[in-house]
Each structure stands twice: as C-alpha cells, then as structure tokens.
C-alpha cells in the first residue's frame, strides 16, 4: 500500500477494497511511528485528516469520485489551510492558525483529497537543506546523517519514506527539484503562473511557484491536473484552457531532441552525479532521443541575479510579519520601534534575517539601479538564452544538483556554498520555465541523484511524457529507503 501509485490507490478506493478512512489511518499510523526519525512533518492533525477522509468516502459512495478522491496528500507548511497551524517553518508563525484555504488547498479539497499533515520546510522557504526550519532539520531517509534538501525537504522526505503517497512543494530557485533529487523522488515546478499563489506564503513573488512531489511522473500528471488552474485572486495566475497532463504520457520519444547545455556539463558537477546523468542520457538515446549541445551563456549569472531579486522581494514580502496583528510578538518592549525590532529579531532565524538585510540593501536609495535594475536586465538575458536554445532542441537536461545530498551541518555555516547547490535550478526559475527532477540512480554514499528536465513554456505534458517513458524502462523511482 505504501509503495502503491496514485492510480493503484485510486482503483482500490473505487473498488472499495479500502476506504479513504482506512488509507488515511494507515498513513497517519506510519507517520506517528517513523516520522520522529525524519522530522518531515510540522503538524499532524488526525482529527482533521480523518474528517476529510470521511467526506471522501461519502463522495466515493455517491459516485462523485475523481482520481485523487480519498488520497492522502502531505501539504508543505507554506500553504494556508483553514483551521491548520500554518508556520512556514518559522517561529514567527509558530502560533498562526490560518482562517482560510490557499487556492491549491481548495482545489485538493474540492476533489476530496485528504490533507495528511503539514510538512517541514526551510524557514519561509529560504534554504537548500531544510536546516533553517524553526522546527529543526529534516533528515534524508536514504541516510539520516544527510540533508533532505530544501526548501521542500519535508515533502520530499515524506514521499521518499512513504509517509504520504504524494506531497506539495513550492519552488522559488529550486525548492521542489533539489530536495526531490536529494531524496530520490520526482517533482515538478510548472511554468510560472499556472499554479495559484493565493494562500501560498510569499517568499519571492515573481519566482514562487507551487508544484507536486511524488514517486513517479505519472503521479505528478494526476496531481498537476488538480493543482493547475486559473485563480482570479492571484493577478499573476494565467487564464488558459484546461489541459490533461496524463494525455501524452505514452507517446514514444523517437526523434526527441534533448539539449545539453555546455555550461552545465563543464565544471562544478561531481563525478558521481555526472556518471548517473550520462547513464540516464544513454537510456534516452536507447529510447530514440538524440542529444544536441546547446549554450546558456548567461546562466552562470543566475545565482548572483537570484540572490539580488529574491531577497529584494522577500524583504518587502516579509514586512507584514511585524508582531502587530498575528504571529510572534516579543514578550517585552519599550515602544513601537522596540516591539518591531525585537519581534522580528526574535521571530526570524539567521538566514531569513540575512536575506531581509540583503534585500533591503539592494532596494535602498543609491543602490537600486546598480543591483535591482541590473539584475532585472540580466534576468531577461538569462531567459533569452533558453529561447535561443529551444530553437535547437525540444527539451533540456542536466543535473538537478551538483552533488548528492550533503551531510547535515556541512554547509550551514557557508551560505555561498549552500546557495551554489541551486546553481542548475535558479536559471529556470528566473526564466519562469517549468523544471522537473526525476531519480536516475545513486552516487556517493549510495545517495540519490536527480536528472533535471527543463521544458519550454507550458510544455509540462511533454516533460511528463519524457520522464514517464524513462520510468517505464527503469525502476529508480520505485526504490524506497524504508
């Protein structure tokens, strides 16, 4: 049951071989038993989950079921869910129970999916190792001395350790793809604007995008069918015709042109990761695809550009956490200014404070043009590189992360090294392109390696097809650490 695909679970539910209540209870039991070793969840609320399972069972009984009805899904704690503690991994929101549902949560509720718990994450999604969480780091289920990646580390761990059949994540610079790679699961960040940001606590608004994390591309397709859709409450939400992301899964790959960016294969990638990527590419060649070299000359600027723009937006987005209306407020203070300073200094962790300071600095009078405006210009150049590259290929591949999961504590005192773990994912985020990671084997210390699949705008169905065809001939995605 814990290794079943969403499709299998859906069939079992439809055939009444198991009820959603039973299924949910089983996963809750598993979470209670083995999660303490991983710390993948911040909040588990059995009562609320089972109440949803009951509704799902009624939906199934009355013939209103759709593929995700009754299926437990772990929700990243960045999504506001009515009645649920919603912390965003921060002390600042450690007392915040959301009075409303995020757009994504609403969509899952409408189809009768069950929220099985809120997953751990880097504080306000700022981090690549889940070590910045106020609730402590998530451990990698393949090796508990390693990080799970971040910021959606809790969700990646939950799926990998089979604590939930699927989970949601959010990706600002790689936060779905990097933990998916490090935990050996599949995850996709869709084109910017496809998944509603309403109720998804903002880190960097122009980059944040929600997406699913699951065992396989096929599962991701079912999840995207629910998660994607226009939301009038989000002005950056795109109004497009509905797509069925399952429709192209079985297309053959013959003739597919896979672009390999010279810059991604040059240096920086560790040997074990390179071997796994080469092996995966060889598999694709066997499936009829051919590889072509493309160039993304400006992508080397993506880390500095990202670390100007994302903190700039974050410094403003996080201003609302001031201790006035909700969230953490310092116990004692002299006056208003003191209340602000103490509440924010005590409520935010070091990495969040660092990024607020960077962001405030780059937006300041006299620095704005040199940093923010310049970074915006470079952002356009980085996106332009992809547009050029897609003239020569259909899809781009490379490593998701330069290394396998590193050890807990290994990079936590070296922010630059930490930031470099998103070197391959940031450029896609800055361009608004869809990006995906799928498991392709194991590297050093038997830790998972992920393949980064970058699609052109709105080509999610094609990306899922490309991933699914690989997963049909390999079994990396079926491997489980527990």
């Amino acid at each position: 049951m814990f290794n079943a695909s969403l499709k299998q679970l859906s069939v079992q539910l439809a055939e009444k071989k198991i009820s959603s209540t039973e299924l949910t209870s089983e996963f809750l039991k598993r979470i209670n038993t083995i999660n303490p070793g991983y710390n993948a969840f911040i909040t588990v609320n059995e009562e609320a989950s089972l109440a949803q399972a009951k509704i799902a069972d009624e939906m199934i009984a009355s013939g209103q079921a759709s593929p995700l009805t009754g299926i437990p899904i772990a929700q990243k704690d960045i999504f506001c869910a009515k009645g649920w503690l919603t912390t965003c991994g921060s002390k600042m929101l450690s007392n915040f129970v959301s009075p409303y549902d995020a757009g994504v949560i609403e969509r899952f509720n409408q189809v009768g999916a069950v929220n099985v718990g809120k997953t751990n994450m880097d504080e306000f999604a700022m981090g690549s190792s889940n070590e910045t969480s106020f609730y402590g780091p998530v451990r990698n289920p393949w090796d508990v001395s390693a990080v799970a990646g971040g910021s959606s580390g809790g969700s990646a761990c939950a799926v990998a350790a089979r604590l939930a059949p699927a989970a949601t994540g959010t990706d600002t610079g790689g936060s779905i793809r990097q933990p998916a790679a490090l935990c050996g699961i599949s995850g996709i960040k869709p084109t910017y604007g496809l998944v509603s940001r309403y109720g998804m606590i903002a880190f960097a608004s122009s980059l944040d995008q929600g997406g699913p994390m699951a065992k396989s591309a096929e599962d991701l397709a079912l999840l995207l069918n629910v998660m994607i859709g226009f939301d009038a409450r989000d002005s950056t939400s795109l109004q497009r015709d509905r797509e069925d992301y399952v429709r192209d899964l079985d297309k053959p790959l013959a003739g597919l042109r896979i672009g390999l960016p010279t810059e991604y294969f040059a240096k920086g990638m560790s040997k074990d990761v390179e071997c796994a990527v080469e092996a995966a590419l060889e598999e694709y060649r066997k499936l009829g695809a051919r590889t072509v070299e493309v160039s993304l000359p400006n992508s080397q600027l993506s880390i500095p550009v990202y670390y100007v723009l994302a903190p700039a937006e974050a410094s403003s987005n996080l201003s609302r956490f001031d201790g006035v209306r909700y969230g953490y407020r310092a116990k004692s203070y002299r006056d208003l200014g003191d209340m602000y300073r103490k509440s924010r200094a005590e409520g935010f962790g070091a990495e969040v404070r660092r990024r607020i300071l960077i962001g405030t600095y780059v937006l300041s009078h006299g620095y704005y043009d040199a940093y923010y405006i310049k970074a915006q210009k470079l952002r356009r150049l980085i996106a332009q590189d992809f547009i050029e590259a897609y003239k020569q290929c259909d899809i781009i591949m490379g490593p998701t992360s330069p290394t396998v999961a590193f050890n807990l504590g290994e990079k936590s005192n070296d922010p630059i090294q930490m930031y470099l773990s998103d070197i391959y994912t940031c450029a896609t985020s800055l361009s608004g392109l869809p990006g995906m990671s799928i498991p392709i084997g194991f590297g050093d210390k038997n830790r998972p390696v992920g393949l980064h699949v970058i699609g052109n705008y709105f080509m999610e169905a094609q990306m899922l097809n490309v991933a699914h065809q690989y997963q049909k001939v390999t079994d990396w995605h079926l491997r489980s650490p527990v």
Partner: protein
C-alpha cells in the same frame, strides 16, 4: 524685499468605488472598527492584491477631464515602511509610471483665469487608522480604511498665493464630484490636501527650499496654513536664516505649523515594482468608452455660459462651481433662454441665499427649476414686478397653493396694472389733483416728475408697471 509665495498641492481623493482597490471588502464609511477588513486588508500570510477595475476607470476619467496623458502601461510599486496601520509593511502605490501624466486645471480668482499644470495623478491604497484614545496606554488599530482607493493628484508649483491654492483646491473638489469619481466629503477624509510651500524673492527664477504641510482637511485650514507657513519662512529669511526642508503639521487650534519630521529623518521607501500586480494596460478602446460617459465639464459649461448667455466670467464661475448648481441653472434657463441673466441672478441670489440661510443643498431645494422658470416668466412678460416676484417666491418656498405661480399672484393680488386705459384714467386723476406739481414740472423742475410718478404708483397700490407709468405720464405732460 518683496517675496513671492510658491505653492504646489498634493490632493488625495478617495475614489467612490463600492469595494476596496485590491480586495472585495466594502469601502462604506463609519462601520464598527475592523468589520470591513477582509483577509487581504489584514495582510494575512499568503494573500494577494487584485486591482479594482472601477478605481482604474475613475482615474482614467479624471485624466480625460484634465486633458492628461493616460499611461499604458502604468506600474504599481511598493512603498515600504513600517507603521501599525499599514498591514503589509508597504503601501501599494505608483511611482515611476503613474496612470495619469500631466494635465491642466483652470482656476478663477476674481475675474482672472489661470492655468495650473498637473504633474501626475496616481492610484494607491489608503492605510488604516491608529486610535490612541480609550486603550489605556495602548493603541488600537482600525483597518476598515486600509485598502480604500485613492487618486493622489499632484500639481506643479504653479500657485502663487493661498487664495490661488484655495481656488485650485475648490476647482479640483468640484471637478472630482462633477465627474462622479469622489464624493468630496472632507469631514470623512474623502478629499485631503497637503501643501508644498516655499518663498523666493520677487523676480527670482530659482525655487526656494520647500516645506510640506500635512493635515489640511478644510479649505479654510489650507488658506490659513499657507499664510502662516509663508509668513514663517519670510521671517526666517529676513532674519538671515535659511529654511530646512521638512514635513510640517498644521495645528488648527493654534493656527500654526510645526515640525513633523525633517528631511534627514525621512524614510527610504525602497520603491520597486510590485511583483504581485502585472503592469496595468489600458486600451484606447477602453479610454474611448469612458470618454463617452463623461458629462459636459465645468470649464466647457463656463465658457458656454459666457458666449451663449452673455454671462460675466464671475457669474459663469459661480454657476459652474458645482454640478448640482449648474444643472439647476441649466434646467431653469432651458425654459427661459432669452432671460438667461435673470435666471442667473435668481439662482445665484434668491435660491442660493435661501439655501444658505436654511443650510440645505440645492438637490433638496423646495422650488424646482421648472417652477422657478414659471415665476421668472411672469417677471419677463410684465405680469408682476420683480418686487412682487419675491413675495411669490417666498410663498412658493413654503409650499403655499401647490406652488402654482399664477394662483399665488391671483391670491395675493400682485398682478401689475398693465391696462393703458385704466392707468391713463388714474394718471388723469392724479394730474387733476396736483396742478401745482404739473406746473412745476413744465417750468423745468425734474423733481416734480418723480413726485408725480410716486403719486400714480400710490394710486395703483404699487401694481402698475413703473416703466409704463413713466411713458404715459411723459406723453401727457410733454404735449
């Protein structure tokens, strides 16, 4: 030394939309604190702004009515600062590309018309309110007003006196109400002015250092604050001092301005484009649709009153000072176009006077324009004298005899004698009874004529048309 005062105004007009600029909460005034603040207004984690189309339409209408350029795209920007009544820690405003750029407003001081250039008008959201009373050493926050749509209208420093500033503010106030984008209620804060004031030696081309005066919520305070501030600056400069650029607060009780914050203390607002809102695109088609909904504007009406009706600039100015007054005059004069001056005099005189006396608005005037026209028609055709008309007006105002003009004239016996035969008969009687004065007149004493007119009027109990009496009397005496 002669000093020139230089003033620019920033006016915040609250746009008359039902809901807020970025949320669906109501904008109605006076509700219980925090009952009109939804999750977006409270800036809960994860909420996002969605622009209110109605607010944009009102901004475009304003731009069209002052001949400004409508920018497309225009950009919403975040103005970052911390304050408890600012829930997000930033205000969504416009910075580098406002929706309205440029434009002109014509003001009238006395009989002089002057063009004041507008710099820009931009959309933004209002903040909430901090309540410092009743909380025992703490402050309360009411976020009902947070997110209310504002159009901030900024003028160039083209105003040269407090009188011009007031004229500008009043013209603007009338205009925004005229085109229906703001209710103009100053007590409720729907129309708020800040004034940038500086002084310079007469003839100088260089602007002096300015101070911004906040909290001017009436035209009277605007005038007094500018006069005080200009006086303060002149005094400093004449004593050899210099002006510090700062924001000052006007205290109406003491009639003075005082330092609120100096330029050095000013926030670095760290403006940047709001990534939650796309650039605002406004199509030419949308602009044209809105153009068609605009009423005839006060400036156009004013010049029409002068050319078509021959009214003075002053009269035309008064009659177009509000749309309601102007509409009242329009309806009256429509019935009596050849007597436009008479209509103007009565609307500005009797009607306005009586309204002011009783403190009621023209929309609640007990005499309708049609009824007023009916009364004025009876002056025009000589049925009653102007004096008698005032008596009829009074009766109508108090609703007597169903406000039927002719019935009131009849009832009160106010009809003028206009029958030549009857008047001649009375004149003959008067002449016969006053032989001495007739002789005096004929010997050249003009005074005697006036006395005879008076006698005749007396004999007719004031009902004769004095002009007619003059004519007949002259004819009879001059034979």
């Amino acid at each position: 030394m002669q000093w020139e005062i230089v003033i620019g105004l920033e006016v915040h007009t609250q746009l008359s939309t039902q809901s807020k600029i970025f949320s669906g909460a109501s904008t109605a005034y006076g509700a219980e604190p925090n009952t009109q603040a939804c999750v977006v207004d409270l800036a809960l984690p994860g909420v996002l702004p969605v622009l209110n189309r109605g607010a944009v339409e009102r901004a475009i209408k304003f731009g069209l009515s002052v001949g400004a350029k409508i920018n497309s795209p225009s950009i919403f920007a975040r103005k970052n600062y911390f304050y408890p009544d600012l829930p997000k820690g930033y205000q969504i405003s416009q910075y580098e590309l406002p929706v309205v750029a440029g434009g002109i407003i014509q003001i009238q001081v006395g009989d002089t018309i002057k063009s004041i250039r507008l710099t820009r008008a931009h959309l933004e959201e209002d903040a909430g309110k901090s309540l410092h009373e009743d909380f025992h050493g703490m402050s309360g926050i009411d976020l009902n007003r947070a997110g209310t749509p504002l159009l901030e209208i900024v003028s160039e420093p083209d105003l040269r006196s407090s009188a011009e500033a007031v004229a500008y503010a009043k013209t603007l106030h009338s205009l925004v109400r005229w085109i229906g984008i703001c209710d103009g209620n100053m007590q409720e804060g729907s129309f708020r002015c800040d004034a940038n004031v500086s002084v310079r030696p007469q003839g100088s081309k260089v602007l002096g250092t300015r101070c911004e005066i906040k909290n001017l919520n009436s035209f009277r305070f605007l005038e007094k604050a500018i006069d005080f501030e200009a006086g303060r600056q002149i005094e400093i400069l004449e004593d050899g001092g210099s002006i510090r650029q700062e924001t000052r607060l006007y205290d109406a009780n003491k009639n003075e301005t005082r330092t609120m914050r100096s330029k050095e203390d000013a926030n670095d607002y760290r403006y940047f484009p709001d990534p939650d809102l796309l650039p605002l695109e406004i199509s030419g088609e949308w602009i044209n649709q809105l153009k068609d909904t605009l009423p005839e504007l006060p400036e156009a009406r004013r010049s029409r009153y002068m050319t078509a009706f021959g009214l003075s600039a002053y009269d035309a100015g008064v009659l177009t000072s509000s749309r309601e007054l102007s509409d009242y005059f329009e309806e009256t004069v429509w019935k009596l176009p050849v007597q436009a001056k008479l209509c103007a005099n009565w609307v500005m005189g009797e009607i306005n006077g009586q309204l002011n006396k009783e403190g009621i608005e023209i929309t609640a005037c007990p005499i309708s324009p049609v009824q007023l026209a009916a009364l004025l028609m009876r002056i025009g055709d000589g049925t009653i004298s102007g004096k008698a008309a005032k008596t009829v007006f009074e009766s109508m105002w108090h609703g007597e005899l169903d406000q039927q003009v002719d019935a009131i004239i009849e009832e009160k016996g106010l009809k003028q004698l206009s029958d030549d035969g009857e008047i001649e008969r009375l004149i003959d009687e008067v002449l016969a009874a006053n032989a001495q004065q007739v002789a005096d007149y004929r010997s050249g004493k003009q005074k005697a004529f006036n006395s005879l007119v008076g006698q005749v009027m007396k004999a007719t109990k004031g009902k004769a048309n004095p002009a007619q009496v003059n004519d007949i009397l002259k004819k009879k005496l001059d034979v």
